[in-house]
Structure formats: structure tokens, C-alpha cells
Subunit: 222 residues, 4 copies
Amino acid sequence: MSTPIESETTQVSRYEPFELPETGRLIGFSDAAFSIIITLLVLEIHRPQAAPGHLGAELLAEWASYAAYAVAFIYVGVIWLNHHYMIDRICKIDPSFNWINLGIVGTTALIPFSTGVLADAFREGDLADQKAAALLYALIAAMMSAAWIPAFRYLYRHPELMKPHLPRTVFVAQVLRPVIGIGLYAIAAALGWFVHPLLAVAIFVAVVALYAWTSQGIHAGR
Amino acid sequence: MSTPIESETTQVSRYEPFELPETGRLIGFSDAAFSIIITLLVLEIHRPQAAPGHLGAELLAEWASYAAYAVAFIYVGVIWLNHHYMIDRICKIDPSFNWINLGIVGTTALIPFSTGVLADAFREGDLADQKAAALLYALIAAMMSAAWIPAFRYLYRHPELMKPHLPRTVFVAQVLRPVIGIGLYAIAAALGWFVHPLLAVAIFVAVVALYAWTSQGIHAGR
Amino acid sequence: MSTPIESETTQVSRYEPFELPETGRLIGFSDAAFSIIITLLVLEIHRPQAAPGHLGAELLAEWASYAAYAVAFIYVGVIWLNHHYMIDRICKIDPSFNWINLGIVGTTALIPFSTGVLADAFREGDLADQKAAALLYALIAAMMSAAWIPAFRYLYRHPELMKPHLPRTVFVAQVLRPVIGIGLYAIAAALGWFVHPLLAVAIFVAVVALYAWTSQGIHAGR
Amino acid sequence: MSTPIESETTQVSRYEPFELPETGRLIGFSDAAFSIIITLLVLEIHRPQAAPGHLGAELLAEWASYAAYAVAFIYVGVIWLNHHYMIDRICKIDPSFNWINLGIVGTTALIPFSTGVLADAFREGDLADQKAAALLYALIAAMMSAAWIPAFRYLYRHPELMKPHLPRTVFVAQVLRPVIGIGLYAIAAALGWFVHPLLAVAIFVAVVALYAWTSQGIHAGR
């Protein structure tokens, strides 16, 4: 800002969109979306319509809603941390990457739906309903995991989007996580359908724990 | 920040609102709104109130909801990308442009409503209901497209809002897109009403695809 | 950034919160809140639960919902523009002003409630219900207007929060707008209760138009 | 940006995520979440389903909803101010602190649920329901307070996250506030269960007032 020439250079680099790192709006849009998803989860906690005098018992009977909220909240939290981790390593965005990011946001936005259906099935449904709900959850969760694979692949083929000094292989290990997740969701769907839906739910919780654990691990081991 | 004079200059350019590019708040407001719209769509996915044992069948019967969610999600995604594209080329905002932008956001916010009515009509309504819902959708979608025309016109007449080095004709081609969209929505309304509402739905999907396609095309061909 | 000393100075001014203009978070918080309020309005549009074959007629019967949405959307838009206008002239925030700002956001957040009650009363209620709903709306709208008065008063007594070069009288004229608004809402409440609620509604629309008009006027006449 | 060396330095400090203060995204995410929570509260205001002619009486009967909205709104406002205060003193974020922050956001997001259950119990439930609702509220509010303790502890053990010139003891006094809050919520739960739920509600309101008061006090006494 000390000489006119420098000032003009700064101005061009600020006003010329075609050269600019554009992560700002992608971050603003995604952060707002993740915040909304994580906050809408609380609307999925079933509010008891108890007959007078039975609210306490009804609230205790809602334990499946509370557990579902806690797990889904942690899940979206992990996804936000992963998104944070990925975007931190990017300095430019192109239209294709914006579409890939919309895929991540759009599948994540389904969590309140799949979580709500699952919690409802364990509160009100029979075994067949629980199987169907577990299958739906596994399918949506696998789609959520799958949405990350094109992101890592695209960045590998477009290292110009990544920050300097970063090897293009930085996300190669990361891609393992959604792949393992999809595999576990497939196993959960099969066990839930052919054996018992609670097995599927156990795996759903385990995958969130695994994602949470490896999210930390990758940060810690950098 | 090294000399008093420079410091004061910086301060003026930072603190004096009348000279300042003000895209920041317009972007923050619009991004939050688009995020909320795109996330509220998931609330429109019909949650089955199935009798015990029938959840699986009910979930399959909701295919219209899922398709509507996917199309509407892509639609809002395209609108966000278009908004991104337009604002990237602007460096100042005046009150009139803020109003125009509110028109874009306010019509986009109607998507969950028109999409929900359309999906409901195909799940529960008869042919007359589907015709009415298709007409409503076409009307709202045409309003959404129309809201972009004043933006392009205003920028053409106020090149001082646009970033330097950009020709004032930069949005002339863009204005074709909403005009074509309105035409197609008019055709959809007529075909949906006089022939069959599914024809209208096919055109609705085609317009989203067209918007998505040309959004990319304009970026790619720059 | 060219010498160590300068760099350190910059760092201090960036990391030391007690001296810093802090409008950033107030803006981020308020913009997100206004975006959510404006988008939640669409949830207030009554979705007809029509018997098969009657969707078209039911949609036409919802005209009060559509008009209420349009007016409320413009109202929140005006409030956002006013907020934009005020914060643009501020460079520092203190805790008291944060509380005042929460009052503005918290009363604005009631618009979907009062608008929904009013639209419901005109769709389903009788004359007594419409009077009660108009009274509620007038009360909440007067509170919304009143929330701005402490903001202008506080800034007048704390010119150190305002940007340099701005006279402390900059908001003196602005304070007239909420005062006039409160007066008109009082008249609307009286006419709506003692004469006819439609008179109140006419004044509600007129105040939004007046606010929209003067918002522009103040910007234009600066 | 005038010499290659300077330019590279700037670029490294801007593009290298491992060294960078990362409060930006944490702030964006948290502000959006608090905005949504505070705005969703209005959805908890019970909309009367009055028979024609009874809307006025029904609206007056909803006083518990209005009071609950006001208190909860102020509560979230205080939490936002506290969050603002804490993050203002931080310049770096690590993954552990992101998790701690998610705990704060995730427990705060439960306010609309616990507030809604409490207001419902006082409108429609009997004494046993009110006791159960007060217990739930006390439990969730204690969790909300508890979520802040690890934040202060972690910052004490990781002064490298805090802004320079700040003593590591800056949050030692702050940790008293959630501890006192938890104690008061325990007393409220006991009094509400064994004596009368209205005593619990009185303490709930008092804690919000205390939090609001000390939030100001700490700012004022710096």
C-alpha cells in the first residue's frame, strides 16, 4: 500500500475474480449449511404428546431420540471437521469443485431425515420397519461417504487448486476413509436386513466413532 | 500503516462506507439464505406415518419426494453458482441493487413451497391437483427467473458497480438464460394444463439441467 | 509487512481485542439471523390439505398467506437494509451495543409468528379473531420499531463507536422513523379494534412501504 | 507484494494452514449455529388452534410461551456474548478445541427442546408433568454449563492458542460461572422435584439473569 503501483497491483489481484482464490464463499455457504443441519437435528428429537401425568415416563421412553441426536450431532461435527481439514489445504475453487462440494453438503443435509426415520422405527415400528429404516440409513450414509471420493480424486488431478508446498498425494490416504465407510455401511445393511437391525445400528455408531477417531489421528500425525 | 498519512488513508478507505465496495454483507446474507433454503428442502421430504410393518413400502412410495428433493437441491445449487458468478464481477453495491438481490433471494426461498406442493400432488392428489400444482410451480419458477433480469439490466446501466476491466456487456449473454427459462416455464404451464402435468414436470427438470449446463458453459468458455 | 516493526504493529492491532473494531461478529450473527427469519417466512405459507381434486381452489384461497409472505419479506428486507445502513457507520462494538442489537434481532424474529397468526385469522377466524390478531401484530411491530430507538440514542451518547468524520447527529433524523412507526401502529391497533381489522392491515402495509421508501430516501439524500 | 521475497512470505503465512490462526471458520460456524438456535426459538411459541371467536383468549393464555421465548432468547444471547468474549482472546484453534466448541454448540442447540417441553408442561400438563419438565430443563441446562468447563481448562493448559500479552489465568475467574450455574441447576432440580416446580423455574430465570449480569461485569471490569 506504499506506492501507487503496488496499490494498483493489490487492487487488480483483489478485483479480478478469474485469478483469485475463491474459498471464501464456498466456506461461508458450507459453514452455514452445516450449522443449519446440526441445529435442525434438534427438531428431530421427538416431543412427547403425553397425557397429563405421563410426561416423565414419555420423556424417558424417548431415549432412542436422544441417542440418535447425540450420534448424528457428532457425525455432522466430524463432517464439518473433515471439510475444514480439506478446505484448509485448498486455495482456489473452480466450478467443478463447487459442484462436488454441493454433493457433500446435499448428502449431509439428509442426516436429519435418515436419523429421524431410524429413531421413529425403534420407537414405534416393528422389526420389519426397523430393518427398512436401517437399510435407508445405510444407503444414505453410504451416499454421504461416497460424495467425498470425487473431491479427493479431483484435487489429485488438479493440484493447482491446492496450496503451494502441499504434495498432490496429501489426500491419498484420506480417500481410504470413505471407502472403508462404504464397506462398513454395506455390511451393516446386510447384517441389519438378514440378522437384526440393532447390529446395523451398532455399526452406524462405530463408523461415526471411526470417522471421529481418524479425523483426529490425521491431524495429530501430520 | 507505516506513516501517519498512509495510516489515515487506509483508515478512510476502510471506514468510509460511501466509497467502499460493500459486497461483503450482501454475500454473507445471500449465502446464509441459500444455505437455509437448500437445507430446508430436506424438511419437505415426506416422512411416512406408516402403520407398523409398512415402513419399507411407504418409504419406496415416497420416490416423488426424493426426486423432488434432488431436483430442487440442484436448482438452488445452480442459483447459488449463478449468484456467485455475478457477484464475483461486482465490487460495489448500492441500495437499488440490494433490493434487486432481495428479489432474487425472496423468490428462491419459495422453492421448498412449490416443490412440496408439487410432490404432494403427485403422491396424494388426482390429475386436476397435479395440473394446479404444476401451474403453481411454473408460475413461481418463472418469477424466480424473472428476478434475475433487473439485476443484469441494472448492472448494464451502472457499470460503476462492476469490477474494473470488465466490459459492461459481460452480462448481456447471461440475460438470455432467464428469458429462455421464462419461455420454457410458459410452455410447461400450457402443456401441463392442457395435455398432461407430467409433461410440465419433464420441462421443469430440463430447465434445471439447462441452467446447470449453461452455468458451467459460461465459466468454461470465458 | 515489510519490516519487523511494522509487522509486529500489525499483529498487535489484529490480536488485541480491546482496541479492535468488532463489527465482524455482530454482522455475521445478525446477517445469519435475518437470513433465517426471511427464509422461515416461507414455512408460514399455509400448505393446503386439500381433498383430491380441490388443490387448485385451495391454493387460490390462500391469497392471504401469499400477501402476508410478500409484505413480511419486504419488511425483513427493509430491516436488513436499515441494519446494514447503521452498522456501516459504526467501527466499534461494546457489550451494551451487542445487547441493543440482540433486542433488534429478537423482536424481528417474531415476524413469522405475528404474520402467521394474522394470516390464519383472516383465513379461518371470525371478526373477533381478526381483531385480536391485528392487535397482536400491532403490538409486536411496535416493539420491533421501539427496539431501534435505544440503538440511535446509545450511538449519540457514544460517538467513539462511530466511524471518524461522522457527525454524532447522523442518526438524529433516523430516530424519527421508529417513532412515527410506533405512532402508526398505535393508530392501527385502535382502528383495527374499534372499527375494522382490515383498516389495521392497511396501515401495516403502509408502514412497511413508508419504511422501505424512507430507507431509500435517506441513502439517496446523503 | 512488491518483491518476490515479500510476496512469498505473505503467501506462506496466508496459505500454510498449519501455522495459521484458524478462528475464522469456528466463528462462522458458531455464529450461524447461534443465529439459527435463537431464531428457531420462535417456532416454539405455541400457535393457538383456536375455535372461531376465541383467538384473543387463546393468545392471552399463551403467556408461558412468551415468557419462555424471552428468557431463552436472552439465554442464547448471553451464550453468544460469552462465546464472543472467549474467542476474542484466542488466535489459534486446534482439533481438540474444535471438539470442545462443538460440545458448546451442541448443548446450546437443545435449548428450544427443553424450553418447549417446559412451556408445554405449564400450559397443558399437571404437577407431575411440570416436575418432570423442570428436571429435564435443569439437566440440559447443567450440561450446557458443563460444556464450557473443558474450554477454559484446555486454554489454561494450551496458552499457545491464546492471543499474545494475555496471561494464562485470564479464564480462571470465568470457570467459576459454569460451576456456580451447575450448582444452582442442581438446587433447582431438587427444589422443583421435592417442593414445587415453580421454584425451579424461578431459579432458571435467576441463572440467566446472573449469567447476563456477570457477562457484562467481566467486560466492564477488565
